[in-house]
Symmetry: C2
Subunit: 504 residues, 2 copies
């Protein structure tokens, strides 16, 4: 619409295709999807077992949903098992990445439709998309009254989503050169070779760390007074920076110490997982020297100080609860987890604005976090600095650096394109949400919370004390789209929609 | 704050200084400022004459203010008249551009403090900054009861500001390579040589067009029923896309046809003035072939259709008033003029959102418009397209084009840096405004209306039916800062604050 009169002219044809690639052969994609669907179905044994232990006849829901899912996924995988998977084309990788995040939520939604929530398709898909993308927005209320198997299923979805995000961020996005993620290409382990075996290998190594951290979080929650079921669910949704809870009151239902534990593990889950792998091998330096880690921790600490000071100045509240609420809620929003312990909208207009913008920051690349992410802001600011340098000395050469390495102009344009698409997506989604009749604050913050995969928005309806249930179906589908786009770092979806991308 | 661990390394020293430049010699800057201040003071004869004709003793206000201003400016110019002005350094041009927009409002504010409005310094400065930057936000109410000289002074400030913007945008910003404006460097006439004589020459040629268009607008307003005074004031504030009115009701006070006239001239004032110069020389092609003109007109037309359709669907309102209100209000906001005829917030949530985002578009470069501007969106979208192309063919070369000419990576980074700084400025200003206690909508829309130099914001306080008077002083000063930054295309102010820029 805006580009009339301008054109992009490819100068060297269509570029080389990877040898042996067969574009538009969707069988390898179907095979991977089939395997993942079948695997998802098999994990339904866990909530089924939970319901059986509870003596609830709700267990049948998971047997039914699980059978459908396993059979469906298994048949697809079986039918496509002989497809060539050695050299996937860029188009195939794109389509695979997108369809995984689009199709898995369909099957993950089954228990919500068949089960005690008796949700219609829209609500079930919304909840399952919100789960797998680790957004954490919910349309269900009366969580305490739901069968425990169903609550566990919600938490498990976020936990699976968390692994998926790390693998997507470490393997697929760098390969696709999306949003500057290519700078993490070299440092994602030393693994080389075909993309699918590499993804499986990295997923395995990451899972060890992920399970260890989740276990540590589980025991920590037990120690601060949660029961086993609460500790398990919250450990799953903390490490995935997801934010689903077992209670409508979210962390409002738990004691003070639980908030500190949650804050600690939410922040750990926002650090690059590759650093933990190095840590386990005895290499401490890469973690402390990682500039996105340092910047993220500094920024979080600064925000905690600012919000605490803002609330203490001119009030006679005690230090501890104010400090704790700041630590917990800032960690929750900046990491995109989305737990709430209080309605921070009551802290005043300044806090509302700050929490809104905080959600647009996000954690480190290679973690379970979403949103714009710290390293992109670092690169953007570096780029502005070099622009200012160029204004001063038009013939000087200014090379932005990241983590000590020079950053090429390709990466910078890629990051800037990401930022632009992010802002434009926010704008367009806000407009579309407002067309469904939602007010300004709900539309803008709803768009932001979806695209940045946070959880709560602002205002009375979808704020930290609210719920997404009252929204109409159109708004829910728009938010699902936003969550998907946010999770896929925007450009994947844009590229799929672009004629340039499909031209061959 | 966000750039810890990253550094910009200048590789070739500080770059060549223009021959003969004496950095930090502020005398040439003081000389230009002095001349402009004295000139501003002399124009106070006009509102003085107006008050004398009306037989009002308010004329003394302008004699007093005018004398102070002329003497002050004259003395400065006299004291620095022998300063070297042939080769200004980049730092000097920066400082000059910024200080013109900072110092002139100080003197322009005098009549508001001494005169019938009896404004305090904050209100007077706010009104005069809002005037000269052609923003159009006002803190005064009961406009109909003010002496006509004072109303005329407000309108004149916007009209002067309009010329200033065109000259700044055609001469100074391209020279400073700010925000991609360097692409307009070549086409800004064929004038070459020293910057100050060139600025004066372009100002003179632009003024002819500007006066012709203003006169046409004046007569058109007369024809649709305005009296001479109303027509004069609104012609001055229409061509400058300023938006001050002679009535609290703005265009709510005038007939339907006046709205169409206003829309026509607001849109004309948003086109690149260099095209009108070419038009007068008989060259029609450059105007019709200018891609920013075509995109701007198409987008405006599309928005008018959308808003009209949105309001007509599901209502039984008549076509004409709905269409007219859409034409007028969309033209008013997208050009950043800021007149209002109705409270478009009553059209529903969708309209509110759309008008908010529309203000972030802006007209063409080289016009009196502000905000991000159409050409930057065109370049940004071109850049995204080429990013997508690169994802598809990593070794392909994709060169974005603008108006048929290839655009270098330097220009693209410059535009992206502008966009980023614009968004960050909006965010920071929103946070600061919310710290003064303003609600979310008022803070966000207040920041946007200031930085994009529009006029009205959203919400009950500063919306199209509201006024900026109820804001506290801190908020008003923050908005003044926003207007200044918006007017100077952001980077000038950033550069002045940057140590890199001042290092020598």
């Amino acid at each position: 619409m805006m580009t009339g009169g301008n054109s992009i002219q490819p100068m060297t044809g269509d570029g080389p295709q990877p040898a042996g690639a067969i574009p538009f052969d969707i069988r390898p994609i179907a095979y991977v999807l089939g395997l993942l669907i079948a695997a998802l179905g098999m994990t339904m044994i866990v909530p089924m077992a939970m319901d059986l232990i509870d003596g609830s006849d709700h267990a049948g829901v998971f047997i039914e949903s699980g059978l459908i899912t396993v059979v469906f996924g298994g048949l697809i995988a079986l039918a496509t098992r002989n497809s060539p998977r050695d050299n996937l084309s860029i188009q195939q990788i794109f389509l695979m990445t997108t369809s995984v995040w689009l199709v898995l939520p369909l099957f993950a939604a089954l228990p919500f439709m068949v089960g005690a929530t008796e949700a219609d398709f829209t609500d079930a898909f919304f909840e399952s998309m919100s789960g797998l993308t680790t957004t954490g927005s919910t349309v269900f209320t009366g969580l305490e009254t739901l069968p425990r198997g169903l609550l566990l299923w919600r938490s498990m979805l976020q936990w699976f989503g968390g692994v998926g995000i790390v693998v997507t961020g470490m393997v697929f996005l760098p390969e696709l050169r999306v949003g500057g993620m290519q700078i993490f290409r070299i440092e994602s382990f030393e693994t080389e070779g075909k993309i699918l075996p590499r993804a499986a290998q990295i997923a395995a190594r990451i899972s060890v760390i992920y399970i260890l951290l989740t276990s540590a979080c589980f025991f920590a929650y037990l120690m601060v007074g949660m029961d086993g079921f609460q500790a398990l669910n919250h450990a799953l949704t903390t490490l995935s920076t997801g934010g689903f809870s077992t209670s409508d009151a979210s962390f409002g239902a738990f004691s003070g110490p639980a908030e500190y534990v949650a804050a600690l593990f939410m922040i750990l889950a926002s650090l690059p997982f590759v650093r933990f792998v190095q840590l386990m091998a005895g290499h401490y330096a890469p973690l402390w020297q990682d500039s996105q880690v340092r910047t993220f921790l500094r920024l979080t600490a600064a925000l905690i100080v600012i919000v605490t000071a803002y609330r203490l100045l001119g009030s006679n509240e005690a230090f501890e609860p104010v400090f704790r609420e700041a630590v917990f809620n800032i960690a929750s929003i900046i990491t995109g987890t989305g737990y709430a312990s209080v309605d921070y909208q009551l802290w005043g207009a300044f806090a509302v604005m700050l929490f809104f913008l905080m959600g647009l920051v996000g954690g480190c690349a290679g973690s379970t976090c979403c949103s714009v992410k710290i390293f992109r802001y670092q690169l953007l600011f570096s780029s502005i600095k070099s622009q200012i340098g160029k204004i001063h000395s038009p013939h000087g050469v200014f090379i932005p650096r990241y983590n000590g390495r020079p950053v090429g102009p390709d990466v910078l344009s890629s990051v800037m394109a990401f930022f632009l698409v992010f802002i434009v997506t926010l704008g367009v989604l806000s407009v579309l949400l407002s067309m469904t009749g939602l007010d300004f604050v709900t539309s803008v913050s709803g768009a932001a919370t979806a695209v940045a995969n946070i959880g709560p928005g602002l205002g009375e309806i979808i704020g930290p004390a609210g719920n997404f249930a009252p929204l109409n179906d159109t708004a829910k589908w728009l938010l699902c789209l936003g969550m998907l786009m946010g999770r896929l770092e925007m450009l994947t979806v844009f590229a799929l929609m672009s004629p340039v991308f499909w031209r061959n």
